[in-house]
Symmetry: C2
Subunit: 201 residues, 2 copies
């Protein structure tokens, strides 16, 4: 049984050009995290893939019932580089309505491939660089959408309403862990960039 997947080359190219235009614009505005710019440029230099969104990894503090709940959630703090003790204290001192979660996310990239072959190549390459939760999230006429994601995601529940749930005497240990996790994400991003340099895609 051979199954056809129709991808329209022209639609793919149009989407690619649009994504590239937006990427350049986002750099100018300052939307793009500088840590990820060389990798995205490298991806756009390939024949069979392009990038539609990306994040190099970040620390976020959110006031929400659960980390995945977006309705009525407020971002208290967001940073793409290591958290300082003063920042942590200021997060803890911010009044909240639900729970304060500090979330450290690893890098995430959305890539559009032109063929099943290039999609599979990217998936295998990404997994070998530590992006172990990667997959095809959509098969469309204008391309195959991949999500490249590492498992370096962690949450820390620090407060519920006025009650601080962590032991502040040991805040430095928490801080150190948060920053190590962020750095591990950046290391995997670097590994992906190195591997992509030599990949025929």
């Amino acid at each position: 049984l051979t199954q056809g997947l129709d991808i329209d080359d022209e639609l793919w190219s149009r989407w690619r050009n649009e994504a590239y235009r937006r990427f350049v614009e986002d750099i100018e505005i300052g939307y793009v995290d500088p840590d990820i710019v060389p990798l995205i440029k490298l991806i756009f230099s390939k024949r069979s893939i392009f990038s539609i969104s990306s994040c190099s990894g970040r620390v976020v503090a959110v006031d929400t019932t659960y980390p995945w709940v977006r309705e009525d959630a407020s971002i208290i703090f967001k940073k793409h580089s290591p958290l300082t003790l003063n920042e942590l204290i200021s997060i803890i001192n911010t009044p909240i309505r639900y729970r304060c979660w500090i979330i450290v996310s690893g890098p995430i990239l959305h890539i559009v491939a032109k063929s099943l072959e290039s999609a599979t190549k990217v998936l295998n390459l990404a997994r070998s660089c530590g992006f172990k939760h990667s997959g095809i999230i959509s098969l469309r006429r204008d391309g195959i959408v991949l999500e490249l994601i590492s498992g370096t995601w962690t949450s820390f529940l620090v407060k519920e309403l006025d009650t601080v749930l962590i032991d502040l005497k040991h805040a430095e240990k928490l801080l150190k862990t948060v920053n190590e996790i962020l750095e591990e994400g950046k290391r995997r991003l670097q590994r992906l960039e190195d591997a992509l340099k030599h990949a025929d895609l």
Copy 2:
């Protein structure tokens, strides 16, 4: 550009039979979490998909540097149902070598589809039931492998070596959060089962 994806019907059926045999065996041994049995049976009743592995969601306490590090990690505790205060205290009292993380994972299923069409149908259905991080993880000659996963994953760093990092005075608040997260995962599993009942797959 029409791209061929060759799936061998006979190989797919052989894999399906093997997976079904193992599922039945695992039920007998007691390996399968009872919460998920009806859903897996339902999946096996469909023409174009089968299941190769599944978990209904669980609470695990692990001694490891980071949640994703498996080398030299030890499982201190594992349960597919709500955590009790006594269990939490016993986890905290367990001597460790690195860090103690309590990890609450939502349900996860691996499904093998016979065609791109059925794979896409399952993906859309899963996403609509709260399995928002689902994707195709592998395109093989014997089937398209899907990972259905919800975003209801959280970690709680409770200890580093001998240092307890949470405030034990408020352990019940942590416990309540852990169990609510576990329950949310089970709810999404139920939603998936309900939606699958009426799906033509």
